[in-house]
């Protein structure tokens, strides 16, 4: 029975929110070399940029600026390029990725303030409004669409509306949401968002991109703290000749184009989001049947990654649980006790989620854990 389910130590089903499982066709797109200054590659790059702008309904208003490196690199490039030296940044944080944006701003010598909520609480829009009323010097607000520390969905529409109402500019870390959770520039005002090839778009890791309002980017010359992270310069150079300033990850970009084609074939953001919601439903239902409880109530839970409370059973040792799951081909995401996380994204569906649950059931049985019920569980 179990042999028929996907997942093996050699071809694992990654239950992590990046790097995640990709399709074989996406990986096969990397079997060719590209000259980065050849017309065929320049055309490929232009097609990818156009597709990404279109996914956010941002044609005409925003431009796509891709950047080498992980998602963190493009988030830092976005903040470093768009917040001017005399700007002031307010970061909404309820997890590691929000806090990381504040750290970046401090590296850049920018004035920064953090408006924090607990990891299981969404960003507080009323507190944001009060902060903007109180401090005229705040020029930019930064928020995380889905904070993968917990998997919580932040109220990005309300954050955008409040920020715009007070005449400030919004920068969004859309890393783990872009391509699966809707975000439409025609209805959600933002100066820039940053995302990556290797989250819900299901490309391989190695590049990120910003979608930035043209006027904001045009005004950002001279802000960036580093040449490599200068999105204004990257954009200007690409506008001139369609080329990247510095050697692009050509194979990774070719894989991203294939991933975007497959994203469209699945029905775009709506289709991708629907599959992830179904993955989450199967996972959460199955885990609850085993006694596990989610950290977040369903209303705050994005279909990206789910945090489960640690079982109270003393026979449940997380390291052993993780190692045994990995040995069965289902590596998940380590986190700080007393919780752990399992991702719903990547080229995985019902068969993989059922396979993960079967592996979890088997491992619990091996460990002699009777139930996933956490300590101090609700009645």
């Amino acid at each position: 029975m179990e042999r028929a389910l996907p997942g093996s130590p050699d071809q694992p089903v990654l239950l992590t929110p990046g790097p995640l499982t990709t399709s074989a066709t996406v990986r096969q797109a990397m079997l060719r070399d590209w000259g980065s200054r050849d017309p065929a590659f320049i055309a490929l790059n232009a097609r990818v940029r156009e597709r990404l702008v279109a996914l956010a309904g941002a044609q005409g208003s925003h431009v796509c600026v891709p950047l080498q490196g992980s998602g963190t690199f493009v988030v830092e490039a976005m903040l470093g390029t768009l917040v001017p030296k005399d700007g002031r940044l307010l970061v909404l944080a309820n997890g590691a990725y929000g806090q990381r944006m504040a750290t970046m701003a401090r590296y850049h010598g920018r004035r920064v303030e953090v408006l924090e909520t607990a990891e299981d609480q969404p960003n507080d829009v009323a507190a944001l409004e009060r902060a903007l009323l109180r401090d005229d010097a705040i020029t930019h607000v930064a928020a995380v669409h889905c904070e993968t520390t917990s998997g919580i969905l932040n109220p990005i529409k309300a954050i955008a509306a409040a920020t715009a109402r007070h005449g400030r500019r919004l920068l969004i870390d859309a890393m783990s949401a872009f391509g699966a959770l809707p975000l439409d520039a025609r209805h959600v005002p933002f100066d820039a968002l940053a995302a990556s090839a290797n989250k819900c778009l299901e490309g391989v890791p190695g590049l990120g991109f910003a979608l930035a309002r043209k006027e904001a980017l045009a005004a950002a010359k001279g802000n960036a703290p580093a040449l490599s992270l200068d999105l204004h310069d990257q954009w200007q150079a690409m506008e001139r000749n369609g080329q990247w300033r510095f050697t692009p990850p050509t194979h990774v970009l070719a894989a991203l184009e294939q991933a975007l084609i497959e994203h469209e074939q699945e029905g775009g953001v709506a289709g991708r989001g629907a599959r992830y919601r179904e993955n989450r439903r199967i996972l959460v239902d199955g885990m609850r049947a085993l006694g596990f409880e989610t950290l977040l109530p369903d209303a705050l839970q994005a279909s990206i990654i789910v945090t489960f409370k640690m079982p109270a059973d003393p026979r449940f040792a997380f390291e052993a649980f993780y190692d045994r799951l990995r040995a069965r081909g289902y590596p998940g995401k380590l986190t700080v006790a007393p919780s752990f996380r399992i991702g719903c994204i990547g080229r995985i569906g019902p068969a993989e989620m059922q396979g993960a649950l079967a592996a979890i059931r088997a491992v619990l049985k091996e460990m002699g854990v009777a139930s996933g019920r956490p300590a101090r569980a609700a009645a």
Copy 2:
């Protein structure tokens, strides 16, 4: 006859110094997904780091810190992390890559001075000595081992000796040389060098690495202008748990390990360098037979990329020449008139070089160009 030679518009032989032609087995190493926090990937990362340190004879003295992004990213991370805020950098420049290091230091707000020579002249070691004697405030010297703007080999041993003699610290852009031109840390003192997966190591683009002296890196906390480019932090995090701080380009790293295995199988730096020298010999002999002249005398010419003077024949139009060569599967490197460049590196050998020469001969004939002889050619 020509059909038997490699190179086609669909599978071109890249005659560029990055992105360059890679082996099929290196690209096939990207057909598997990796969880970046899994023991198997952590072990792969450790093996790659050890191999890179060994290639420079730097075991025990230096550590390898890999970084996401293109080679430029890791050069900038090296400068930004190792030159302290109150440091002063002297850059030896005879081309675009030297000048780019000075640009980076200016981004970082560091004091920087450029000691320039013409593009066809090596760095001037006597002038370096005079500058170091004159200015006690200079803490670091930066140099480019092989400047791909022209393909010139700089006197890195003499530069290192002079810098060490005056008690200053050397940072090397070894991008286009590492793995093919010898550089041994036991004989050439340097605080750090930066190189990438996609030059003479023949991996795919998407990551670079620094080899840095442990003491220098340990003393560099708090210098970096950006979180993403902080090599001290990247190193410290990797020492703790063997993992990258932010999502690594997993497929690119797997390809680099395969490339390093193939590098060793070819006989390491000596074997790789020998193939490139033979590629250069075939290319330069063949081009000279067609009347072309090299920009550099043979003694200054590294076996990485060769610059040819533009032919005087008015029927020779470079854009058309490049387009037609590309159509035959041999894209080269555009450059500023009155010269153009052809690379010798990547998974190419005599057959590819002969194929390139055959394509060049055919294109010249199509264009009606009788000889590659430049204007004002030497008698």
